[in-house]
Amino acid sequence: MSDSLLAAAAPTAAPGRISSWSLLLGNRLAAIGFCLLVVLALTALLAPLLPLPDPNATAPAERLQPVLSEGHLLGTDQLGRDMLSRLVWGSRVSMAVGFAATIVAALIGSVIGLVAGYAGGRTDNLVMRGVDMLMAFPYILLALAIVAVLGPGLMNALYAIAVVNIPFFARNVRGVTLALARAEFVDAARLSGKGHLSILATEVLPNVLPVIVITMSTTAGWMILETAGLSFLGLGAQPPQADLGSMLGEGRAQLFTAPHVSIVPGVMIFLIVISLNLLGDGVRDVLDPRLRSGALMRPGPRTEVARNRNRPENRAPDAILNVEGLETGFSHNGQYAPAVKDVSLHLRAGECLGLIGESGSGKSVTALSVMGLVNSPPGLIRNGAIYLNGEDVLAMPEAKLISCRGSRVAYIFQDPLTTLHPMHPIGRQIEEAIAAHQRLDRKHLRERSIALLERVGIPEAAERARHYPHQLSGGQRQRVGIAMALANDPDVIVADEPTTALDVTVQAQILDLLRELQEERGVALLFITHDFGVVSEICDRVAVMKDGRVVETGETKELLSNPQHDYTKRLIACVPEIGQGREFLSRVAPLFRPESRS
């Protein structure tokens, strides 16, 4: 899995916002599906205008002519009818029925889902029990039974298929409505005196619509298949009318002697359904807000590095970690935007460097870039070099980089609830960290992990090791995070806002622990925070970041006492002091006037 090394050339920037339409067509498979569907639908629609023979004209003496025979491009069927003509007319019928069934099912199902989800309580319970019941009923049998009751015929098959599919719509729509019905804007509408019906129509429905469209696009193909299935069982179109399912069903008798009679409609069904499915897949991708933002991109094992990056010299060869001229950015829909630019930092053994800045200043991106942990796509390291003991991390092969993670550079992350795996016990997660770099048997792994937990101050560590993250308090979870970082005695620990998510007393404990450990083990610490109060407690030196650049660096004390950059001054001023009260605000306010912004 080294393809990320072969990083693409710098993405070209395309101006303007990208429309859903071009997004859809940008998905190659969806585009193919769309084009195919358009061609098929057009052919079916234009059937009356095409120079086709009568699809129902029989000529038993000329039956089962093969494909490409004279006058019959696709041959003839068991009654000598022209296959091509029947195929076109049959597709017309099948598509019409499939789409109509989809619309009927979507309509009824959505109404049921909307009402159940909006009303909630007993209505919801009752309706959903009914839906469950329908779903527990084997669907083909339900369709069969409905057709048996109504009698055969395409319209009845249509109803049967629609009924069978109502539950899917009802369930999907109900799920979304349920959440929406409790949303603030709906409450607001209610308070403003709007009636239920108008709330449903104007507030809820527009937000549910994407779900309905997605469900429709993903079930339309399925419906056409089911129509074919019913026709195959003889419950669809009445002879002599052609529809794809009954063509397939009737042609099946000749499967061994004249396979084209059933293969031709079979292939047609396949083409229609796959075009719908490809398109449906694409539609879902476009309408899904997460996919749209590009968030559902699969991050690779390491951040992509531009091949043509400029790679500055190592100007601090004695530093254990030296970041030189780093530029990391993100590309969305082909547009690249840098997040950090020309960042240079260095960290000596046993030293603690604070990296400070407001949210979005690029400090976390810098920290994650060190070991290639920025999600990519969309992340890209465009320029710079990162020297770990003099070796450029960005040039390391993937295996080497992975072996350095945790063993030489370890991380402690901000929110331990989301950064610990929710489904593995914490002890196991620590053992795993050890096992990644050291060959130890199970027993020793366990002992080590418990010792680590004890070291970071978790009481009854042996017992706690079996617990899951959600069973621990925030402080304890962060202690686990620290234990995990310590597991392999790294040279450098990157602590990415390790105390931000914690309350003040716990924060202090964790800071104490970190300082203690740093002294004890002589590990270098890159400490990322937005809080100068914290910096002053633990860091030897500080780098201040703003808008993706380092604006000021220096010894902590010096910098605190004599900040050079406006931004640094503001940040320092923001550290509240006990007993200061209202004064704090009046002191800070002028610093944040728009004109004082650089």
Partner: protein, 517 residues
């Protein structure tokens, strides 16, 4: 991940490598591909030809059809006498025959069989229902004279009686087994036939083993296995893959392909079957005889039979199938004459009659009903009819057709298989047999002359005389055209080349006693 792939690939290869040369049927065991699972193995409880094929190998009747004919010969009865008035039949039974369960076959057993079917007060009457019991509705009493003599008393002379006895409804079951299994007798059958029931796996197989003590010579086959394979394609596939030795009711197109295969033998035999469309003579366009005749002239039956059915049927001339060769009828089928048909329609003042045509999707003896219906529709449209097809699944279809076409439809497909020329006309063409009276005359055909002829033929015991009467019926009904006469089926079967002495019977029964493999 790759390791996983490798594992899967490896295991699949291993599995495939270890394959047997599949689907070799075992030696001396005949595997028969059937079209459906039997309903029951109680011969009195079933009506389907498919089930009869199994039953005649497990049971014997008092009489049976002589090989290759529809004539009756002795079986469990060695001989019989018919009284002068045709109302008393005395049977002398074969001695020393035992049922598969070990009990004795005797006159009491015969009486038990018929009483169970016919008398509602019989303790085992509730093991029914017995749908074909009406075949013996003229039987008033069955009396045991001694251990091996039994007398049937009829309420009136009834010519088809012996033939009905030879039909599967007349097969003799073991009273002991019925007493033992009650309602479940149909799954635990016991008769006197050449094969004894061994096993029934639901929807998989019915197996029967050789009856070494069979009174008419031990069969050579060790066992026969009947496999239900509902899907015709799958049945053909099994035949081609060698999973079965015998396949019955081969679809027409496949039969043509099988004919050319040297490893297979195709067997054909015409039988008393008729495929037709009931015409509603009570109302609508078909109330006019000329329109009915026009329909008969308009449909190109030759093409239907030769192309759609690939020669697996012959053109029908009237209600009596030619398989009853003792009915000497001169009637020729309606020719294909669309011009004459148009002319008749004009004469009737119905240039473009609108008709509704009931078509079924399957059903016993129905031979590709949808394709046939579509082809008939096309032919009728060609001379000016305006035909709308309504297709129904078989049981719905039967329900609709049996209650009469009045107010619903103008024509309906139908097919019958019988053992005596009496059955079909008696049930479907008599004035008295209208649906309101519980008959099957769904088209309300009524011709007093036909009624008389049928009544007479029924009570006449002299076969030559009966033959003449039915010939007359054939002639009149052909002329009146209450049906659209289409086809007489030539039943077929395919066997592998090493199956010997396999023979289809005009009775549609499948006797496997003498088959070797």
């Amino acid at each position: 991940m790759k390791r996983l792939f490798r594992c899967v690939a490896l295991s699949v290869t291993l599995l495939l490598a270890g394959f047997p040369a599949t689907a070799q049927t075992p030696p001396n065991v005949l595997i028969v591909g059937q079209i459906a699972e039997p309903k029951s193995l109680d011969p009195h409880a079933v009506t389907a030809t498919n089930d009869f094929r199994i039953l005649v190998n497990l049971y014997d009747g008092l009489v049976r059809f002589k090989d290759g004919t529809l004539e009756v010969e002795p079986a469990l009865a060695e001989s019989w006498e018919i009284s002068e008035d045709g109302k008393t039949y005395t049977f002398n039974l074969r001695q020393g025959v035992t049922f598969h369960d070990g009990s004795q076959f005797n006159a009491e057993a015969v009486k038990f069989n018929f009483d169970r079917m016919l008398r509602e007060d019989h303790p085992f009457h509730d093991t029914g229902p017995f749908p074909l019991a009406f075949n013996f509705s003229t039987v008033e009493a069955v009396d045991v004279v001694d251990d091996y003599t039994v007398v049937f008393k009829l309420s009136e002379p009834f010519a088809p009686f012996l033939s009905n006895l030879a039909y599967p409804t007349g097969l003799i079951v073991s009273p002991t087994a019925v007493e033992q299994h009650g309602k479940d007798f149909g799954r635990n059958p016991s008769g006197t036939g050449p094969f004894r029931f061994a096993e029934w796996q639901s929807n998989q197989l019915v197996a029967a083993e050789r009856n070494d003590a069979y009174w008419d010579g031990t069969p050579t086959l060790e066992a026969v296995v009947f496999r239900p394979i509902a899907d015709a394609n799958t049945r053909v596939a099994e035949m081609m893959a060698g999973g079965i030795d015998v396949m019955v009711e081969v679809p027409p197109d496949n039969l043509a392909a099988f004919r050319g295969d040297p490893n297979l033998q195709v067997h054909e035999q015409a039988g008393p079957h008729v495929w037709f469309a009931i015409l509603n003579t009570s109302e609508g366009p078909f109330a006019d005889k000329r329109v009915r005749q026009a329909a008969n002239l308009a449909v190109n039956k030759e093409v239907l039979v030769d192309n759609v059915l690939q020669g697996t049927a012959t053109v029908a001339a009237g209600p009596i199938p030619p398989a009853f060769n003792w009915v000497e009828s001169e009637v020729e089928p309606y020719p294909y004459d669309p011009e004459r048909a148009k002319q008749l329609l004009t004469e009737a003042g119905e240039a473009n009659p609108k008709v509704t045509f009931y078509v079924t999707e399957g059903g016993s003896g129905m031979l590709n009903p949808v394709t046939m219906g579509t082809a008939i529709q096309a032919d009728l449209q060609a001379v000016g009819f305006d035909v709308a097809i309504e297709s129904y699944e078989w049981n719905t279809f039967l329900g609709k057709v049996n209650e009469g076409l009045k107010g619903k439809a103008d024509m309906a497909e139908m097919a019958w298989m019988t053992n005596d020329p009496d059955t079909v006309p008696y049930l479907t063409l008599r004035t008295e047999a209208s649906p309101d009276n519980g008959g099957f005359n769904s088209g309300y055909y009524s011709n007093p002359e036909v009624d008389d002829l049928l009544a007479k033929a029924r009570t006449t015991t002299d076969q030559a005389e009966r033959g003449k009467l039915y010939a007359k019926v054939q002639e009149i009904v052909h002329e009146d055209a209450p049906w659209l006469f289409v086809a007489n089926w030539v039943q077929n079967a395919v066997t592998t080349a090493n199956v010997q002495n396999f023979k289809l019977q005009p009775s549609f029964l499948l006797q496997l006693k003498d088959v070797t493999k």
